[in-house]
């Protein structure tokens, strides 16, 4: 008689599960090959050096997501315009009524503010992360320079996953918002402007199924 279910042999090759005392390798064929670097928006199976604060010793990071690089274009263009704006003072001598020293200070202040703006925007993009492990989802929000927020939920508590891709830019660049509803304390997780939303949703659904099967079979990792 053919096997009706054989998920225990079709899981991630990097992990192991224990079933009735025997240890067997896990193979997750729905996870794409390792890709991405520290500045990528879509990092699959990052190297082992990358860890997060509350990570368990055996917990494995499968995906790290942040907003698509195209979302940075708007502030980058603004910064570029602001960078060249003082050059216009040559044609519009607005500061000529000020002493020379004050004119110089004005330019210094201008570039310091610009530097702060660029650095804050970069940090905000860089540290707004969603980490998907084999056990849970961790949402790291860097709201501004003085506020951070970290929330997580177990994958088995996920109830509903949906995504929205709207507008020309999101369609062309293939990114969108993913909404995950859970039965945990924080009931909603929104991954904003993440690349390949379809693939991410598929991975989450497969992980959820995997966790449900593990629970039903009473397996432990």
């Amino acid at each position: 008689m053919p096997d009706l279910y054989s998920a225990s042999t079709a899981k991630n090759k990097n992990s192991t599960i224990k079933s009735s005392g025997a240890t067997m390798p896990l193979i997750r064929d729905f996870i794409p090959p390792a890709q991405g670097h520290s500045l990528s928006s879509f990092i699959v199976l990052p190297n082992k050096n990358i860890r997060f604060e509350t990570q368990e010793p055996e917990e494995e990071i499968l995906l790290i997501l942040r907003a698509h690089w195209a979302t940075n274009l708007s502030w980058f263009l603004v910064a570029l315009l602001l960078f060249f704006a003082p050059a216009l003072l040559k044609y519009f001598p607005l500061l000529t009524s000020l002493p020379v020293k004050f004119q110089m200070v004005f330019v210094i202040v201008w570039y310091l503010i610009l530097l702060m703006y660029v650095f804050e925007k970069f940090l905000s993009w860089f540290f707004n992360l969603t980490i998907i492990t084999d056990e849970r989802i961790v949402d790291v929000d860097f709201l501004n320079l003085t506020t951070k927020k970290v929330a997580d939920t177990e994958i088995e508590k996920i109830q509903d996953i949906s995504f929205t891709r709207k507008g020309v830019v999101e369609t062309v660049c293939n990114f969108g918002d993913i909404l995950v509803q859970t039965a945990a304390e924080k009931t909603q997780f929104v991954f904003e402007k993440v690349p390949n939303p379809t693939q991410v949703v598929t991975i989450l659904q497969r992980l959820r199924t995997e966790e449900k099967i593990e629970t039903l079979e009473g397996r432990i990792r």
Binding site: S38, E53, F102, V105, I108, L145
Partner: protein
């Protein structure tokens, strides 16, 4: 009363502006230090992603703001 009005009229307008500018630079330097702390905390939340580079840049940013403050204080 006349003396008070006279002393008020004698205040150098540019000296007041300079004091405000210096205050602004000081606030900026404090803010840059907050950035250093925040970067340190964030790199502890997620470790291994450009940790050294980001901490280095944040310290560089803070040192730069302090140098600018001292420069303005001495030569402005």
């Amino acid at each position: 009363m006349d003396q008070f009005v006279f002393s008020l009229l004698n205040i150098n307008f540019w000296a007041i502006i300079k004091a405000f500018v210096l205050l602004g630079f000081l606030v900026y330097a404090i803010f840059a230090f907050v950035v250093v702390r925040q970067v340190k905390l964030m790199t502890e939340v997620v470790n291994g992603m450009m940790t050294v580079a980001l901490r280095f840049v944040s310290w560089l940013f803070f040192l730069f703001s302090v140098i600018v403050f001292i420069f303005v204080l001495l030569f402005f």
